[in-house]
């Protein structure tokens, strides 16, 4: 194996293991919000690692720098967090339930003023954000 193939192999194996971990997370976690946590980070890093390996391979092996592959990396780096935000926002606004063990819902407290007033009254405080 040449040094080019060794470097590319390290990137590709790292990326495929990260993709597998993200997929296991999607299958095993319990509600859509924690599944988004698994899918949004590890899958992005895995795909970016594999495409970085491809860019380095074609740069070192054939000597031509392919900008389209680099554009794919930049595009995934920009759009994957946006897709995660859109999915979680739509899931929350269509009242997809959290899993049973969840205890904290700060966004719901901020969005639902009446529920926040009732919650603060239990602690003996008043709601003074009007």
């Amino acid at each position: 194996m040449t040094i080019t193939e060794i470097v590319t192999s390290v990137f590709v194996v790292t990326g495929s293991i990260l993709v597998l971990l993200s997929s296991i997370g999607i299958l095993r976690l319990r509600d859509v919000y924690s599944r988004m946590h698994a899918a949004g980070k590890s899958s992005t890093l895995g795909v970016m690692s594999i495409m970085t390996g491809a860019v380095l391979f074609f740069l070192m092996d054939q000597g031509n720098f392919n900008f389209k592959l680099l554009l794919t990396i930049i595009f995934i780096f920009i759009t994957a967090p946006l897709a995660g935000l859109a999915i979680n926002r739509s899931a929350y606004r269509t009242h997809v339930p959290m899993c049973q063990e969840s205890t904290l819902d700060e966004l719901g407290d901020a969005m639902d003023v009446e529920r926040e007033k009732k919650r603060l009254k239990e602690f003996g405080k008043s709601y003074d954000y009007d």
Binding site: V12, V13, S16, V32, T44, V47, T79, S90
Partner: protein
């Protein structure tokens, strides 16, 4: 040796793709299915990258870019549709 490593990585990524497909079929809510299909599109980009390495050609770069763009647009469209029942805002 390099081809063997690439083939093993392709098998690992294919197993990951199957697991995401199981979530897309099972998924209790629509958001789970959108999430699984979004991840599946990104795994397809990874598979195209590894096939490029295996064939030692750069002509598949367009396909990877187009699959990434279509996956993103489809995800945003479905998310906006289940949130508002409408895709293009009027105001």
């Amino acid at each position: 040796m390099f081809e063997i490593i690439l083939n093993i990585s392709l098998v690992i990524t294919s197993i990951a793709l199957l697991l995401a497909l199981v979530r897309a079929i099972l998924g209790p809510t629509t958001s789970d299915r959108i999430l699984a299909l979004d991840t599946l599109g990104m795994m397809l980009v990874a598979i195209i990258g590894m096939v490029m390495l295996l064939h030692e050609t750069v002509v598949y770069a367009d396909i990877a870019l187009v699959v990434a763009i279509i996956g993103f647009v489809g995800t945003i469209t479905m998310a906006k549709f289940i949130e508002k029942g409408d895709i293009i805002d009027d105001n």
